[in-house]
């Protein structure tokens, strides 16, 4: 009996100790505000640039202090979700477009519309309109775009010259790409004409180049197995298996396509403008062009934005910070100077600075591509969608399913995901 009571006493003690440790609040007196900012995009490479931005912001707003915390992209969303669950949401945090919808739909974000209306210094035309609107959900502004990047066609000029083929132009189609790739491919030397990965992101863009899409316009019906989509996926696979102008998974054997391009083994590579820095020191000439399409042009568009937690006690200060990161010239200038993605500001002078940097020579292409941007087909069950596609596209890549079979099998699964 006593033993039992001893145990209870012990438990109570433990509980009391634990209770004593929790619940502390930090409120600044003298009107000073401390603001948390949780972020993934700087990484090690750009942490110093983030510090510069914070310094500049604190100079303009002496009564606000920014406490930033970084996490690697792989861990970021788990950590963020856990902090939200624990009632310890950071005042402001970063979201990429794919995850933005998820958080907005769960009601974790503050509606910024009122703050925007009250702020006479801010007008949305300071920003690229497409990028600004990307962070709206159900017609309300829940986030502010801070930067974007896209994917274009990188090409190795030297390989084109050697094969005597003209450089890609804006009006190229898939057929032109294939013809050039066939001329350039030289298996004995391990040189391949063109490369695009077979995965979900590449898929939703490639089908768009053929007029297809994953969902209908108002996102109520899955259109996964449409004619246009099957044809587009067939084309992706044919480049590897039928025309042999793209290395197979086995031929790549773990090397990244970026490394292969850098080694001068790929003539045309669809990849992101974030590779500009990585390709700076290649010993051949390269440039970029718009991607060839089939019936129309389509280019990836990825954006990061800042959001404000709905639970923050410092809504106004948070808005100032978010606005600074999104629309201020100072933050944009720091981004451009350090090649840290592209700011979404519409200021042409700033853009000019960016265009003058080389390589590549045709930097204007980055902005031209925005005219035909395709955003990720985001739904609430985004991670399930990408997993389902990854599995089926793997089977297509392995030759275990034809594109038609795989897309037919996916159609009902994807429909289920939006019906939930």
């Amino acid at each position: 009996m006593k033993k039992w009571m001893g145990m209870v006493a012990l438990l109570v003690m433990v509980m009391m100790v634990a209770a004593g440790c929790s619940s502390e609040t930090s409120q600044g007196d003298d009107g000073k505000v401390e603001l948390d900012y949780f972020t993934f995009s700087p990484g090690e490479a750009h942490e110093k640039d983030l510090k510069k931005m914070i310094e500049e912001f604190e100079k303009q707003n002496p009564n606000i202090t920014i406490n930033y915390e970084m996490a690697a992209f792989e861990d970021y969303f788990t950590k963020l979700q856990t902090r939200l669950a624990g009632g310890d949401a950071p005042d402001t945090f970063e979201l990429n477009y794919e995850n933005f919808v998820n958080y907005a739909s769960k009601g974790a974000l503050m509606d910024l519309d009122n703050l925007i209306q009250e702020d006479s210094d801010f007008s949305s035309d300071q920003l690229n309109q497409e990028a600004f609107k990307a962070f709206q959900y159900n017609g309300k502004q829940y986030g502010m775009v801070e930067s974007f990047s896209n994917v274009v066609l990188f090409y190795n000029k030297d390989l084109f010259d050697e094969a005597g083929v003209d450089y890609p132009t804006a009006d190229w189609t898939w057929e032109d790409e294939l013809a050039a790739a066939q001329k350039i491919t030289n298996k004995e030397e391990g040189v391949y004409g063109t490369y695009a990965p077979i995965q979900f992101w590449e898929f939703y863009k490639t089908i768009a180049q053929n007029g297809g899409s994953v969902f209908n316009e108002d996102m109520t019906k899955a259109t996964v197995n449409s004619e246009a989509n099957i044809e587009a996926l067939q084309w992706m696979v044919d480049k590897v298996n039928k025309y042999n102008v793209t290395p197979s998974e086995e031929e790549l054997s773990g090397q990244s396509n970026g490394d292969l391009f850098k080694a001068g083994k790929i003539a045309m590579l669809r990849t992101g403008i974030w590779m500009f820095d990585g390709f700076k020191d290649t010993d051949f000439e390269w440039d970029i062009a718009l991607e060839p399409g089939k019936t129309q042009k389509a280019h990836h568009f990825f954006a990061n934005g800042l959001a404000v937690s709905k639970d923050t006690e410092h809504a106004e200060a948070a808005w100032k910070w978010v606005k600074f990161m999104s629309a201020s010239e100072e933050a944009a200038q720091i981004r451009i100077d350090n090649a840290w993605e592209l700011p979404a500001v519409s200021n042409e002078e700033l853009v000019q600075d960016y265009l003058e940097q080389t390589p590549p020579e045709s930097r204007q292409v980055v902005f031209d591509a925005l005219d035909s941007l395709v955003v990720p087909p985001v739904i609430e069950e985004w991670n399930k969608l990408t997993d389902a596609f990854s599995k089926e596209l793997d089977l297509v890549k392995l030759g275990d399913k034809t594109p038609e079979e795989a897309l037919n099998d996916l159609q009902p699964k994807v429909q289920d995901l939006i019906d939930k």
């Binding site: 006593k2 033993k3 001893g6 012990l10 438990l11 433990v14 100790v17 634990a18 788990t78 979700q81 856990t82 939200l84 669950a85 958080y103 769960k106 009601g107 974790a108 998974e249 086995e250 031929e251 054997s253 773990g254 069950e381 991670n383 399930k384 997993d387 990854s390 599995k391 089926e392 793997d394 089977l395 392995l398 275990d400």
Partner: protein, 294 residues
């Protein structure tokens, strides 16, 4: 009734147990209980959990991904268990003899055990590389063109099994060695006098007297292999085409990719009951074949 002195003694014991006990309560006890409760709810970490009864458990019955994860887990166990146990016993038998450099070999087999799973997985990933990997190079020397291993749905799981066997062999070997050294040499001497062959000695002396060791190894390895995760996550992430998805990885996926804590908890509890059931059956069966001697 316990006297005053006894109670004091009890308190002293409690104080010494306290640090460990607190850790257990908060990091193991409470989460375990919470996960059981959560398995009857829908919870995305942001909104409040909502009670849905046994819906998750019902859904599991029709969940194709769950079923294939279950199948792959059993596939893993079926390949891994016999290999690691027979391999470890074989090595232990050899290294129990007075051969040259046996201390070195014992250490060598044990090194993978203390190496981190991340390092082991990454190195084996390279070894299994279809074009540049050492394994396919070795196979090509004897005229075999090796498969694409981790890129091939047929060969990805065998590759993971091989890696796991290599890593755990040393641990099981050490336990078998201890078991072997507990066998009194007098049995073998008597058998020698009777003219028993090496096989007869192994079959009739070594194996029966190792029963309790084998039982321990079996239970521990089985529990561990139900929880196979690290190597899968690093080497294939469940691919290609979902051919190496396993149960714990499904738990991880639902909890931290899909933010379905309730569903993830339900899978955890199903996994627990499977392990519990299997272990229980073995405990019952042990009476028939395990002999702890005196």
């Amino acid at each position: 009734m316990v006297g005053d002195k006894g109670f004091k003694k009890f308190l002293v014991i409690c104080i010494f147990l306290l640090p460990n006990f607190i850790g257990f309560i908060f990091f193991i006890g409470v989460p375990i209980l919470a996960s059981f409760g959560l398995s009857f709810t829908e919870w995305d970490l942001i909104s409040n959990p909502s009670w849905i009864g046994i819906e998750h458990y019902k859904a599991l019955l029709g969940d194709e991904e769950f079923r294939s994860a279950m199948f792959h887990t059993f596939y893993f166990i079926a390949g891994y268990l016999p290999l690691v146990m027979s391999g470890a016993l074989g090595i232990a038998l050899v290294l129990n003899k007075k051969i040259r450099g046996r201390v070195f070999f014992r250490a060598a087999y044990f090194v993978p055990v203390i190496t981190s799973w991340v390092a082991v997985s990454l190195i084996w990933k390279w070894l299994f590389n279809p074009t540049y990997g050492l394994i396919n190079y070795g196979l090509s020397l004897i005229g075999v063109s090796g498969p694409a291993w981790l890129h091939d749905p047929t060969w990805a799981m065998p590759a993971i099994i091989l890696t796991s066997v290599w890593k755990d062999l040393g641990f099981v070997m050490v336990i078998y060695l201890a078991g072997l050294q507990g066998i009194s040499p007098t049995y073998y001497e008597a058998a020698d006098i009777d003219g028993a062959s090496a096989w007869q000695k192994f079959r009739n002396i070594t194996l029966p007297l190792l029963n309790s060791t084998t039982f321990f190894v079996l239970i521990i390895s089985l529990i561990n292999s139900f929880q196979v995760f690290d190597q899968v996550m690093i080497m294939t992430e469940g691919g290609p085409a979902g051919s190496t998805t396993v149960l714990v990885q499904q738990i991880y996926k639902h909890a931290f990719d899909y933010y379905e804590m309730g569903y993830a908890s339900a899978i955890s509890w199903v996994l627990f009951f499977i392990i519990f059931g299997v272990t229980l059956v073995q405990m019952k069966l042990q009476k028939r074949w395990v002999d702890y001697g005196n």
